[in-house]
Structure formats: C-alpha cells, structure tokens
C-alpha cells in the first residue's frame, strides 16, 4: 500500500510537470529535498539520544514496574477473558508501560510474547477477543511524549517545540477511548450474529 502511494506521488508529479512546464523546478526540488532529509535525520540524533538515554535510566530505576502495578486493576477489567495471574497479563502490562514511555523497540517483543500467550489460551489461528482488544489499544497508541515529533519541530526552529504535547495526549486519549468502545461494539455484534 505504502509502495503504491509513494510511487504514485512521484509518477504523477513527473507527468504533471511534463505538461505544466515545471520540470526545472522538479529537478531542483529532487536534490534539495534529499539533502534536506539527510540534514533532518542528523538533526534528530540529539533529542533521540537524550530521550532514549533518560528512558534507559527510568527502566532500570523501576519506574516502568511501578506504572505497571498502577495500571493492573484497569487492565484486568479490559481483558475479562484472561485469568488474572496468567503470564499473558504480565506481558500485556509491560507492553503498555513500554509504549507509554515511547520505548517502541522494547514494546514490540513484549507485545509479541503477549500475543503468544493469548494464542495458547485460544488455541486457534483465529484472532481471539483479547487479541483484538490488545491490538486495538496498541494501534490507537499510548505514547505520552512524542519525542520524534518534538525533535523535528526543534529542527525547524519552533519557538515552542513541546507545545503540542498537550494536544497530542488529548487526541491520543480520544483515539484510545474510541478504540475500546469500537472493540466492544464489534465484539458484541459478532456474538449476536452467531446466534
């Protein structure tokens, strides 16, 4: 899908330029934008190094574990089909906390472990209710601090790179709430259809 969109943008642009007489601009923009992308990536290093460094300390200091403990009562309610002390619950909690702290690389393997445990519970190659709920939460996103976006804003000399943290959290909460509601809605609808 992304392959299609990507190629489509370039192809349409070049063909349009042929008839619009803007080939010179296209040629210039091509090299300038590649150069800009490289400068941008280099510029991102500063904040990414800083943030991931701090997160490493947070992880070792046990802040993620405390958060997992706080989240537990809520998460147990969201997954009624998973026994409270099943290993799946532990992995789900660690995946959520890693996501909240923006540790995408740590969250993915934990999430895959959670999926494996949930598959043991269901034992089929059809997605179970808990799996879909888990992925709905993951796709809606749980990040509190969008560090990469802040880095890009800094790179383009924003007067306040972090001013979007508040709006991001609110939009994220809206997406998360609706993901949970939609998940419930489609689950109960699928039950009714079976009857």
């Amino acid at each position: 899908m992304v392959n299609l969109i990507w190629a489509f943008m370039a192809i349409v642009g070049i063909i349009y330029a042929m008839f619009n007489g803007t080939m010179e601009e296209v040629n210039k923009a091509l090299f300038e934008s590649a150069d800009e992308a490289v400068k941008l990536s280099i510029g991102l290093i500063s904040i990414l190094v800083f943030w991931l460094g701090i997160m490493k300390i947070a992880e070792e200091a046990g802040i993620l574990r405390v958060l997992a403990k706080l989240l537990r009562p809520i998460v147990v309610k969201i997954f009624p089909e998973i026994p409270k002390d099943h290993p799946a619950m532990g992995y789900i909690l660690s995946n959520f906390t890693a996501n909240i702290f923006g540790l995408g690389n740590a969250a993915t393997p934990l999430g895959i472990k959670a999926m494996e445990e949930m598959k043991k519970l269901s034992g089929t190659d059809t997605a179970s209710r808990s799996m879909i709920t888990f992925l709905a939460i993951n796709t809606a996103g749980l990040t509190l601090i969008p560090s990469t976006v802040i880095a890009i804003r800094m790179q383009y000399n924003s007067s306040s790179p972090t001013e979007i943290v508040g709006t991001t959290i609110i939009a994220s909460a809206a997406a998360l709430t609706s993901a949970l509601l939609l998940d419930r809605f489609f689950y109960y609808r699928s039950l009714r259809r079976k009857e």
Partner: protein, 177 residues
C-alpha cells in the same frame, strides 16, 4: 483551557526528568552510564530513519514542485474546508495508518513547508504523535503468532485512527486556532 494545556506541555518533560534522576540517585544507580547505553540506541534510530525520510521527502517534493499537489488540493479544497478539514493535511491522514516512518516523512515535509508553529505544522505534529501505525501493528503482531483470521481487528484499528484524526483537528483548532 489553553493555559492549562500549554503549561502541562512545558512542565511535563522537565518534571519527568527530575523524577527519573531523583529515583535513580536514591537507588544509587550509575545514571550516567545507563544514559550513555540507552543513548546509543538513539543514534541507530536516527540513522535507520534516514532512508525513510529521504524517500518520502523526495516523492512529496516532486509532487509539490510540479504543481500537481496544489492543483489537486485546489480541486478538493472547497469540500474539505466546508467541513473544517485543512486540505494540506490530507496526504498525512492517508499515510498515517499505513506506515509510521512514511508518515513521519510527510509530517516533516509539512512542518518544513508551513513552519512548525503554523496551524498546519501543529496539526501535523499532533496527528503524527497521537495514533500508532495500525496496519503495521496488525501485520507484525498477527504475523508473528500465525493468526490468519483477523476478524474485526482492521475495522476497529482504522475507525479509531479516523477518530484520532478528527480529534486532532478539533483539539488543535480549539487550543491554537
């Protein structure tokens, strides 16, 4: 409302730093060494983003500099503005559920073109940060454990993305508009 949100935005990160370093100090952890160890991942991450950014920025700049982007935005603009959606944001909304890194490229391009403190710049930042990449997550997680029937998972993920996009537009308009 606006005052509270922007104050939280400014205070959140420094206060979090204080908490992390305070706890680390209290637990007598080698904080500097841990910082350096974690920071190395940041270098790798920035370099792994490089090809995604080059690819996306070049493709969009071709579309924009040829005049095709403005022409197509001009076509759909009346409909979108009537329902309150800034037309420039459409490419980001389309790419966001499909590829996170590609969307980051689109976001960068929007910020570079319109400025980080413009309405479009703030909206793109919020949209980029507020949801995760639905199709990527479904592919990776279901693929890893061999789930073949995804049932209503795709529907839930994409509809939640739509809500996230609409919520971003409303919130950014309310706070910064």
């Amino acid at each position: 409302m606006m005052g509270i949100v922007t104050t939280i935005s400014t205070w959140l990160i420094p206060c979090f730093l204080l908490l992390v370093l305070g706890v680390a100090q209290w637990k007598k952890l080698p904080s500097y060494e841990l910082f350096v160890e974690g920071g190395k991942e940041g270098v790798q991450l920035a370099f792994s983003l490089l090809p995604f950014l080059v690819g996306m920025l070049v493709a969009i700049s071709i579309l924009r500099s040829s005049g095709a982007l403005d022409a197509s935005i001009g076509l759909i603009a009346p409909i979108l503005t009537a329902i309150g959606i800034p037309p420039d944001i459409v490419p980001l909304a389309l790419v966001r559920p499909i590829s996170g890194n590609a969307a980051l490229g689109v976001t960068s391009e929007l910020i570079a073109t319109h400025g980080p403190d413009s309405f479009i710049g703030r909206l793109a930042s919020t949209m980029q940060g507020s949801t995760d990449t639905t199709l990527y997550i479904l592919t990776v997680y279901f693929g890893a454990v061999g789930i073949k029937k995804m049932r209503y998972a795709v529907k839930v993920g994409l509809l939640a993305d739509l809500v996230g996009i609409i919520a971003s537009i409303i919130i950014v308009t309310l706070i910064f508009g």
